[in-house]
Every structure is written in C-alpha cells, then in structure tokens.
Amino acid sequence: MQRWLADRRLFDVTFSLADAGQADGQAADTVSLADLFRQHHLELVRLAMIMVGDLATAEDVVQDAFERTHRGWLGLREPSNGLAYVRSSVLNGCRSVHRRTAVARKHLPRLAGSSAALPDGAAAADDRSELIAALRALARRQREVIVLRYYLDLDVAEIAEVLRVAPGTVRSNCARGLATLARVLREDEK
C-alpha cells in the first residue's frame, strides 16, 4: 500500500492503522512525529510566535498541533517529509488564530483610533520593528512564505512542501510580499 499521508492536509483527515500501512508491516520505517515535535519544539514555538504575535498563543498553537497530529498521524512516506509536515501543521494552527483575531478586529474602533484599538495588544506592544509590523499586514500566504524563507532559511522547494503549493506560487508570493514590504518601508521613511 502506498502511503501518501504527507501529501494531504492532515488536519482534515484521520486514518486507521490499516489504511496507513501498519497492518501490512510497514510501521518499522515510519518516523516518530512526537520526536519531531520534541526535537524542534523551540523552533516551532518561535515560528508560531512570529506568525501570531505572542508567545503564550504560540505555545498553545504548537501544543494543539502536537495533539491533533498525534491523533491523526501514523507514518510518512518519506521520513524527510516529517519536519515539513509538523511545520505545516503549526502554520495551520496559526491560521486559526488569525481567523479568530480577524473577528475580534471587527469590533474595534476605526483605523486611526486610539491605542485602545490595538488588534493584538501583546504583539503590538512588543513590535518595535517597523518591518515586523509591516510583515503582519501582508496577505496570509505572503507572510508565511516570507517567514519560512527569511526566518527558517528554507528554499523554494522546501517552502512549497510546507505550504502544499507549487514552487511557482512560492516565488510569486515571495516577490509580492517583498514588494509590499519595500513600499511600506519607503512610505514610513518619508
């Protein structure tokens, strides 16, 4: 049985042992997802913190991803895909946080309101970098590509694997994100 778990958006699916190949004797070559989470815990928390803006939420995102994937994951076709997969699962969790944040923002005062209108108090208070602030204003996929590229130093193929998109999509989103960041920074310097 060919395993293709790494190719799916695994938050949406859960498989049986039989489906995943353990029943036909292929369990021995699987990698331990729990081990990947433990080995890369700090990196994953940092990645989530960059994406969501505060440490406590980032820790929750990684813990939640750990538990959800622990429930659903049994093996990967290519052990080398494991890290890409756990990164992807953490980014999925970050997207859920952004969805909730977007709803909260709807109830905030107008754009140029007082400091009480901060969309994410913890994040904004800590953001002394204009660049990081501008990064948070990017469209979701652009932000993810930029962070994976310039924080984790992943190449195009690796980013494509984490985000489950074509390499061309990575390139175009990176170019778009950088273009927007450059514009925002130029305007700030005026």
Partner: protein, 421 residues
C-alpha cells in the same frame, strides 16, 4: 542579499529570540489513543473555487516575437469567426526566455480555433540563473484583464531595473493592449500608472477600458500593526488614483482574487471575510459612484454558497447583469479516490444553484494550484474561458479545448489571470 532581505533575517531572528527553551512551556504528551477505528473523523473540506493559475514556463520555446513593449504588430486574420455572442479573440500570457532574461509573451488568439494571430513581448529584466532549479526564482507575476469591447486588455507585469539577486522586488508596470477594429494589428503601450508596489496582482479593467481597479492595503499612521484591505480605482490612461475604499481592521483582500467590474462598470465585486463567521468569506458589490471611504458601508453582501477561507481561495464571476454567480463546487468523496468538480451557476439573489455548466472528475488530492475555475467571461456573460483542468472555452455547457496555456498544471508558475477575453 539586498538590504530588505538582510533586515528581514535580522529582525525575524531577533523576534524569535524572545522564545527560549528554558522559558517556554514543555510539550504535554497527549492522552493515549485507542487505535483500530477505521474512520475519517472529518470529511475532506468542500473547497470553493479558485481562478486557475495557468502561466507557463516555456524557456527557449513558445511563440514570442521580438517586438518589445510599446510596439505595434501585424496580426493574421482569424480563419473562422467566433460563434455568435463570443468575443473574437482571447489573449494569453506566458513566460519565455530571451537573451537570458525572462520576457512575458503576449499572444492574441482566435476564440474559435485557438490559433495564434499575433504576439508581442514585455521585457521584465529578470535574469535566468544558471541553475535550472532556480529558474524564475524572482517570479514574474502577471495578470491580464479585458474591457467589454473584446479588443482592449490591461496587462500588469513587473520589471527589474537591473539584474539582481533572487527575491528582489520588481517595479509594477501596466500595459494596455489594443487590437485594431479590423483585427489586423495590435498595439501594446505602457501606461504611466504609479500604483503601489504589490498592488497590481489583482488588477481589473473596467468595461469601458478607462479605469483600473486594484487592491490596496493601508495601515494606520499611528498604529503600524493595524491595517486594512481596500480597493482603489485608477483612471486610465493618466494613471491617477481617483477613489479609495478601505475596510479598516480587516485582513487584506485576497490578492489571488481580483475585484470584478459588474453592472456596466457601476459596481465592483470583491471577496471579503464574513464578520460573523470566521471561516467563511462572502462576496460584496461596491457602488463605485460612492465617494471614497468605507469599503463595507458602500457595498452590500450578495448571497452565495459557503466559501471557506484558507481551505482554498474561493473564486467566482458575476454575470454582467448581476443576477448569477459562476463558481466551482467540489464534491466530498469521503474516501481516497476521484473527486467531482462542477462549474455551477448560482442565483446571486438566493444563492441557490441554477444550473451546472461543466462537470469533471479528477484525481485527488486537490490543491490550490490544481483546481478548476472560470478565467474570464464574455461581456454578455454567456461564454467562458475556463481551466478545469484543461484550458478551453465553455459555451452552452460544451467545453472546447483551446491552446495557448500549458496542459500540465505542474508548470503553474504565478498567480493571477493569465488569459482573458
């Protein structure tokens, strides 16, 4: 590495240092799981449509003339007329190599046969690295959008002033392509549009060809992290901005999903989060005659089937009279196997299905770049250019394959609409 890249690496590393292994909470081991249940605990998401990505990489091949931008070329007459009501031409973009630089090939094709009638070239200045893997590392996102006269097209592309390293931002440029009334020539000219960098990925030309709608992101001057998405209308050919509508505090609009002119250019259809339902997005139509201001209060929500954010980029087109929404409906197979995809016409008044335009079955898994969608709609709304998964025209429920874009979506390169009529 340029200054921006260096700053990004430095600032992101600095930000990351706030989390240290000795201060973060350790992972808690999940409770033991009872195994053996053969179940799909959650169905595969029924993803909504995405306008297909159909740009091609045709290094060293493909038909690209040596005519540069800002030029006129002769066009061959179409051997057969287009069916009644169908635009006579469609224009497809592809990327090609010319002297170790990437160029955007612009090909005018017959809607009836797909035959190439003439082609032009837009230089980008992007250097093709030696390593094949890194080819097009910069990406050259392009979009094309058509006016209602079937002969006027706006193309947004990006240009580098000099050869630079990968991932360097390029300068956004807008070109206007006009096909002569007799179809014997086509002229491509650059417009003096000074649009914000990064805003032209979702440009849309008005039916009269005199306005360009683009997406913008504005941030508060007082609270840099508090931004909102919006729409801006630019007058052509002057390139001056005329109006801006913003939705403060929202996520930026989906830049893979251009706003669409409807109601004869009096309204703009756009996609935005639904405030009460965080996982769902909805279509709104903006009254373009309203003054600059709020994107939300100057627009109204139109009924549509559920559109799930992050699962896919929902895409739809609204017919010119505003009564029907053309979108994509994915089946939920519930097991490994093929998935049925339908291009469906919905009532924009009730959100109910009116008719199925096309049904295809394709192998799972579906991903953002392996999707079906309507690329472009004829001015009177009854004929479509579609990618589902092959490229072709759709008239009265009949799909006719056409050349001009790659058959393999594995070659998909950049986002945006790369064919239009």
């Amino acid at each position: 590495m340029n200054d921006l890249e260096e700053r990004l690496r430095r600032d992101l590393k600095t930000l990351a240092q706030r989390a240290q292994s000795e201060t973060i909470r350790p992972l808690r081991e999940p409770a033991p799981r009872r195994v053996g249940a053969v179940r799909w605990l959650a169905p595969l998401a029924a993803v909504a449509a995405v306008i297909a990505v159909i740009s091609a990489v045709t290094l060293g091949r493909g038909m690209v003339s040596n005519q540069p931008a800002n030029g006129t070329v002769s066009c061959r007459p179409a051997s057969a007329g287009a069916p009644a009501g169908m635009p006579p031409y469609y224009v497809a973009l592809h990327e090609a190599a010319r002297n170790n630089r990437i160029v955007i090939g612009v090909t005018v094709r017959s809607s009836a046969s797909g035959a190439a009638l003439c082609s032009l070239m837009i230089p980008t200045g992007v250097w093709i690295p030696q390593r094949a893997e890194a080819t097009l590392q910069d990406g050259v996102p392009t979009t094309i959008t058509a006016a209602a006269d079937d002969r006027t097209f706006a193309i947004s592309a990006f240009k580098l002033e000099k050869p630079v390293k990968p991932f360097t931002p390029a300068v956004p440029t807008v070109y206007l392509l006009r096909i002569a009334a007799n179809g014997r020539s086509a002229r491509l000219g650059q417009l003096p549009v000074n649009a914000p960098t990064g805003s032209l990925y979702a440009a849309s030309l008005s039916p009269d060809g005199r306005r360009l709608a683009i997406q913008v992101v504005e941030c508060s001057p007082h609270i840099p992290t508090y931004c909102g998405g919006g729409l801006e209308v630019i007058s052509l050919p002057s390139g001056s901005a005329s109006k801006v509508w913003l939705a403060p505090g929202t996520e930026p609009l989906d830049d893979q999903e251009p706003a669409q002119w409807v109601d004869g250019g009096r309204q703009l259809l756009f996609l935005v989060d639904l405030p009460a339902t965080p996982k769902l997005m909805g279509y709104r139509v903006l009254n373009v005659s309203s003054p600059s201001g709020s994107l939300i209060t100057n627009s109204r929500l139109i009924p549509s089937p559920p559109l799930y954010r992050y699962l896919s980029s929902p895409a739809a087109l609204l017919t010119p009279d505003g009564t029907e929404l053309i979108s994509t409906e994915y089946s939920d197979p519930g097991h490994l196997g093929n998935e049925t995809v339908k291009l469906v016409e919905f009532s924009a008044r009730t959100g109910h299905v009116l008719r199925v335009l096309l049904t295809v079955t394709q192998v799972m898994p579906m991903d953002d770049d392996n999707i079906c969608g309507v690329e472009s709609m004829a001015a009177e709304g009854s004929h479509f250019l579609v990618q589902c998964p092959g490229f072709g025209r759709l008239d009265n429920g009949r799909f006719t394959p056409l050349p001009g874009v790659p058959s393999s979506l594995a070659q998909a390169l950049s986002a945006g609409d790369n064919a239009a009529w």
